[in-house]
């Protein structure tokens, strides 16, 4: 499944989408960024509620396929611009983290 496929569901909307063809192979969940940094894997969809600029660095280091902001969390314009610049996909959903994980499990 690609990030583009995920967006065909009305449950998700794109905040930044520089590379919608990225494959999603697995899912990682976590909000403690230093923890996520060492554990999220390449091509994971990473579900979090954190929204500061550091999430972009973590996604970039771990090479995740996208960041999924749960609970309707969104980011400011500066972060959006940096995400485009660093080629990091960010989606948002109104589902909570558990619901998002269940939903993705059905698709993978």
């Amino acid at each position: 499944m690609t990030v583009r496929d995920l967006l065909t569901s009305e449950k998700f909307s794109a905040i930044s989408l520089p590379d919608e063809s990225r494959e999603i192979r697995n899912v990682y969940i976590g909000d403690l960024l230093s923890w996520v940094m060492g554990r999220a894997k390449a091509d994971d969809a990473w579900i979090t509620i954190m929204s500061n600029v550091n999430i972009l660095a973590v996604a970039s280091l771990a090479d995740t396929s996208c960041i999924i902001l749960a609970e309707g969390v969104t980011v400011d314009e500066t972060i959006k611009a940096t995400a485009m610049d660093k080629e990091i996909n960010i989606l948002t959903t109104n589902m909570n983290i558990y619901e998002t994980a269940i939903y993705l499990n059905g698709l993978l």
């Binding site: 960024l33 230093s34 923890w35 940094m37 600029v53 550091n54 972009l56 280091l61 660093k86």
Partner: protein, 184 residues
Amino acid sequence: MKELSLNILDITENSVKAGATLTEINITETDDDLVLTIMDNGCGMTPEILETVTNPFTTTRTTRKVGMGIPLLKMAAELTGGEVVITSKHIAEFPNDHGTVVKATFSKKHIDFTPLGDVVSTITTLIQGHPETDFLYIHRINNNEIVFDTREIKETLEGVPINTYEVIKWIEEYLREQYLQIFS
């Protein structure tokens, strides 16, 4: 970081990498606040670098110089309503008085305050990994304090390396004992 002591480890490693011969780690606590100050006499940073250190994209992945240490410390402090202030004097401009001061303020009563954690392990890890440099560790809680200075220990050791297993073990036990006696 799950514990502030891991942030301390990260930031102090920056000081050692900057060539510091002495790094002071100072934790000052009141009932409401915790102020962490890490002061070194390393090469310091130019104003241009200093301006960008809190940005996690300062450098690329392969040439990363400061790592995520400062961005994560800043986030941890700001989550509690605190802040991080960094001042630095670069060796090129201050040949006799260079170094960096990282000062992080935390509000201990905030629900997102990260506990200090096992700071004794952090200190002993630093001493063990960097026997050639000196550390001055000060932890104050209200009117009580613990002070540990590797320069004093080295003087007593008379040439025995400070990172000898027995010495490190002794330092760890000594610090743990101090914590039991002074802060309990």
